[in-house]
Symmetry: C2
Subunit: 352 residues, 2 copies
Amino acid sequence: MTRRDDATALPAMEGRGFYNRNSAMQAAGIAVLAPLWDRACRTVAVDEAPLVVVDYAASQGRNSMAPMRAAIETLRARTRPDRPIEIVHTDLPSNDFASLFRALEEDPASYRSGLDGIYISAIGRSYFEQLLPDGRATLGWNTWSMQWLSEGVGGAADHALAGMTADPALAAAVRARQAADWRRFLAVRARELRRGGRLLTAYTARAEAEAGWEWLLGSLWEAILDLGRDGLLTAEEQRRLTIPIGLRTLAEIEAPFKAGDVRGLTLEHAELVRVPDPFRADFDRTGDARLFAQRHADTTRAWSGPALAGLLGPRDDNGAVIDALFARLAGRLAAAPQTHEPTLAVVLLRRD
Amino acid sequence: MTRRDDATALPAMEGRGFYNRNSAMQAAGIAVLAPLWDRACRTVAVDEAPLVVVDYAASQGRNSMAPMRAAIETLRARTRPDRPIEIVHTDLPSNDFASLFRALEEDPASYRSGLDGIYISAIGRSYFEQLLPDGRATLGWNTWSMQWLSEGVGGAADHALAGMTADPALAAAVRARQAADWRRFLAVRARELRRGGRLLTAYTARAEAEAGWEWLLGSLWEAILDLGRDGLLTAEEQRRLTIPIGLRTLAEIEAPFKAGDVRGLTLEHAELVRVPDPFRADFDRTGDARLFAQRHADTTRAWSGPALAGLLGPRDDNGAVIDALFARLAGRLAAAPQTHEPTLAVVLLRRD
């Protein structure tokens, strides 16, 4: 759950490297994807046309380093070691591109480090638009973003996450928005990908029974209620603090393909997996519930903090309220630690 | 004089839109270039290969809007109205790309406004590196940047601008650095441009007799000395405040071509012009010397402020000193207003 794709509203992620430093959950999810990404890189059509790898929703880039490096190595092994490769990172206009470019230049983990012939660019525009000319992209990579609704559908009086409300009308609005977003995303990617191209997209989703977010975001909702009881948030503000994220089921992901509505793309692979908790092993070893909770709270803040600050709106003490909210969250998580293993939808598409 | 191309050091331009709001001088220079840019757009080779226009050293983008729009219109008139066109804005990693992307999305003056099929990206890397694969660029546009040295050559004890020092050793170091930078810039552009491509580059330079910066930057040096007399700057700090900009002569610009050292590029056009003072007409009408001076001081700060702040180094009152410096500059300019008409070198290159 890393970002929000409403170009009209909020900063996508916490800036100044905070997100980069607090995205271990996302990194764990990306590790899960490595075999499927390798398959995409090995099977994608390559010829003398420029090789262009697109990293959709790159954020500050940290979690893009390993998959981009893997793509470069596999594509060069399949063609020639000095084959020029273009990498395009996309995100919202408000994204912290300066951190991304700096990391690419300076970070020893940069996928360009030590390599020649790698040409990197960025596109600051919502991926619900066509971002590249027809047929330009060889490979696409997109993780932890497509759970964000393209626009909000209103506040929930019973949860911090739009996709986890029990309100039938709101839940239906979330489903409708997500279905439309998914079709739009697929339609523009189908134009951008060249024939034989591959797109891997992975985002948090839900098994029928559970989402995997019950502990973390249930606690976030409880923290919001805490602040309400303390007089820090009005009832209206508590309602407004609804992160515009939905959780698709596998059936919802497959639906447009089964309906024959996705021209040019074939669903090669779609499954739900559980992402391992990156902080659990340390916790089991040390028993330090406070540290375990703080790490989860920081990770949650890194992807949701700017969205919540925007939803809270222009209060003079906006920053202090968000600080208080995540302090409460950390306290609640420490008091009742559980394993956080969110559900991830893993989807590989082929351009026909 | 808009930017600095040392990726290791300073922010290139004042951020948060200050540069966009205070770049009328640069805009005036760009207006001077319109006929030559039109010639480049009309004569560049076009076929079915992707049309890619590269805006080197884009800063926050404001001064790129008109030339990019002109290129789109001319290229589409020469091919077809819906021809896809890619625009690539490059600048240092530290550049304020968020302002650039926002302006492209939201500013009514955005060259994309009302158009389909325009694909925009950004590259955050020094243009002394090869930024695009071989032969990818159709047209290149670069203004007000190549006067910046790729790295500093030390402080001057007699001027605020490295290129205007009377110290023979320092002046020689500036000339050597600028000669090497120019050759490097041309070499990597020659790789990026496709055959028949065109590159327009324009930067402030010097006629043999004068540079056109005597009043403005002479006053800046006097303002530095003022702060020294007031005890705000040590002698060492005064020396250190040397903007790493040089001013090439026409002969220096032509030298590598005459020597046959520029493989693949032909010098189609090179001349020196004077850029009209954008604030002079208002001043003549109103007689408001204070406003006239403030506008010139703000314009100067927009391109030089971050560089000077970096050169001053980590003082707790760094921001206050820079404020004081530009207040002094405004005072001096108001006390003795003159017309500011800097010399601009205008260069058009053809890729053979």
